[in-house]
């Protein structure tokens, strides 16, 4: 694990991906520094809520929304940046190097997946923490419920990386890995309204298909909404997004491992 983790980190540093994350974080830092608490309240909650001066104001209003958006952007960047990692490893000549070591292919894939998750997860956490700490220092008291957003960010990263790793193994193509992740993202966004779509199409068969897809596909957007809700004290009432997303990630990784085992290089 140690070797593959360092290898993944070395590739990330070499590709200067860190600069992109640093750039985005720097912009976020400037925005946070240049924005007053009142401005944030006006933008997010509207003038009527200005009278409220809760100690956890920061978590309850602007930060949850803005910070959630910032973390989503970091996740998007991480997913795009990591899309080439597995296809690169599968290149002719490169695969000969990695896959002729005394590791099973399934073990290699799992290690690679964990290395990607740890590396990019670490960066997302670090960038997020920098912005959040600055925001709490400048604009108000810290609220540890923001940890829900960090936690769900790591879960969402694991979901997107499973899609990207699996697509990378199946197609050995970076564009295909990116497109697959994009298609899953579009599908899960559309399927958030699966009940409304089901009523619209009318046909019972199609309704089952749409519901089936909803339950099968991961739901990172729904997870983010739930985490945002937790930050402002709303309990989780539906565990389907979490369980189905984790199951999807595990299933697709297992499938990728099976495919990789059968592939010839």
């Amino acid at each position: 694990m140690n070797g593959i983790l360092r290898d993944t980190l070395a590739e990330l540093i070499d590709r200067k991906i860190l600069y992109v994350f640093l750039g985005v974080t720097a912009i976020a830092v400037i925005v946070v520094a240049a924005t007053s608490s009142v401005d944030l309240r006006v933008q997010v909650t509207g003038p009527r809520d200005l009278s409220g001066d809760s100690p956890s104001f920061f978590a309850e209003s602007a930060v949850v929304k803005l910070f959630g958006g910032f973390l989503s952007l970091l996740i998007f960047l991480a997913a795009m940046a990591s899309a080439s990692l597995v296809p690169n490893t599968m290149e002719r000549g490169r695969a000969d190097f990695y896959l002729t070591k005394p590791l099973s292919r399934g073990s290699f894939l799992l290690r690679k997946y964990c290395a990607i998750w740890l590396t990019y997860g670490g960066i997302v956490l670090a960038c997020g923490l920098i912005v959040y700490l600055l925001a709490t220092l400048l604009h108000g008291a810290a609220d540890f419920r923001i940890a829900y957003l960090f936690g769900v960010s790591l879960i969402n990263l694991s979901i997107w990386f499973s899609v990207i790793v699996a697509a990378g193994v199946l197609t050995r193509s970076t564009p295909m890995a990116i497109m697959t992740a994009f298609i899953v993202w579009v599908a899960q966004t559309i399927l958030t309204g699966h009940e409304a779509i089901g009523e619209f199409v009318g046909s019972v068969a199609w309704k089952y298909v749409i519901d089936g897809l909803y339950y099968i596909l991961p739901k990172p957007s729904a997870l983010f909404d739930q985490a945002s809700g937790l930050c402002v004290g709303q309990p989780i009432t539906d565990w389907v997004p979490l369980f189905s997303s984790v199951l999807f990630a595990m299933a697709i990784l297992f499938f990728a491992a099976v495919v990789l085992k059968r592939k010839e290089f």
């Binding site: 000549g93 190097f97 896959l99 005394p102 590791l103």
Partner: protein, 310 residues
């Protein structure tokens, strides 16, 4: 003791296609003893690289089996004591030579202490100390081969599979590589060389196997492959003396006052010629079987044998 055993190994690519697939290896069987240098020769497309890939589990066999270091090929454990230098390696360009060796050590599960202890001697062995901290993407082809050889030795392997190891290496480097192979042999390691460079194999290998169109058409020691068993050169004071050689025994290929070259139908019949010369009290200075270069033997094998086998 055999470190590598291959039994009836067959590989057919695209076996389920309408055309019936491409036979890359056809019932190949061979055994390689521990501590020898084995040269694998063959024209392009003969199946040499496919054999390596089968041994290392990169492709799966259509039938037959192979064992490396006592484990079936394809099992991760079978690769624990095997070093491999692929043909046209594409090592991660973002790593330095030294980092590649560290990564290789880690992938093999070598302890950090051993990794640190092995790096410097290996870099020295392949003459890459100066470039240890340079990124691989800046290496020349020859330098990639050198660091590739070093990484293949990182796990202190018992068996080395080297696919075109001197590809891109300058002539001096080729000699250095040959010396490394011989040194590895003296340390008890087994080296399997897959090479187009026949002279390289001729000088380093103990035994040679020739693959052609997926079949192992010849195998033996370099001496066996380069001797023309039925041709003999006799150096003797023949003068004007005539030597009779019945056609059913063989033919005279060359006759001069000092030399006679004959081709016998049966090797042992050379005694008949020697007896004749002795009977005529002709002084015999030497009798030696004629040798051909490995190149010539290889050429004859790949151009003639397949037709005979077909």
């Amino acid at each position: 003791m055999n470190i590598l055993e291959v039994s009836d190994l067959t590989k057919i690519y695209e076996a389920h296609s309408r055309k019936g697939g491409v036979v890359a290896l056809d019932r190949v069987s061979l055994q390689i003893r521990a501590g020898e240098i084995f040269g694998l020769l063959g024209p392009n497309g003969a199946g040499k690289t496919t054999l390596f890939k089968l041994l290392l589990g990169l492709v799966s066999a259509s039938s037959g089996e192979a064992q490396l270091c006592g484990y079936y090929a394809g099992e991760p454990l079978s690769r624990r004591k095997v070093g491999y230098l692929p043909e046209n390696p594409r090592f991660p360009g973002y790593l330095t030579g030294k980092a590649l060796l560290v990564l290789t050590g880690r992938l093999y599960g070598v302890s950090q202490t051993d990794i640190e202890a092995r790096i410097s001697p290996l870099l020295q062995l392949v003459d890459m100390e100066k470039w240890a901290d340079t990124k691989i993407r800046k290496y020349s082809k020859g330098m990639v081969q050198r660091i590739g050889l070093a990484q293949s030795l990182m796990a202190d392997p018992e068996l080395l599979l080297l696919d075109e190891p001197t590809d891109g290496i300058d002539p001096v480097g080729k000699i250095e590589f040959r010396q490394i192979f011989l040194r590895l042999k003296s340390e008890g390691k087994t080296v399997v060389l897959n090479s187009h460079l026949l002279s390289e194999v001729e000088l380093a290998a103990d035994r040679v196997g020739i693959l052609n169109r997926g079949r192992l058409v010849r195998m033996g020691s370099v001496e066996e492959l380069t001797s023309k068993r039925s041709q003999f050169e006799i150096e003797a004071d023949l003068g004007d003396e005539l030597v009779d050689l019945p056609s059913e025994m063989g033919t005279k290929l060359f006759v001069s006052a000092q030399k006679l070259v004959v081709e016998m139908r049966h090797e042992e019949d050379i005694n008949f010629v020697i007896d004749q010369l002795r009977a005529k009290r002709i002084r015999i200075r030497s009798v030696k079987p004629l040798r051909v270069s490995l190149e010539q033997s290889f050429f004859e094998t790949v151009t003639e044998l397949p037709q005979g086998l077909a």
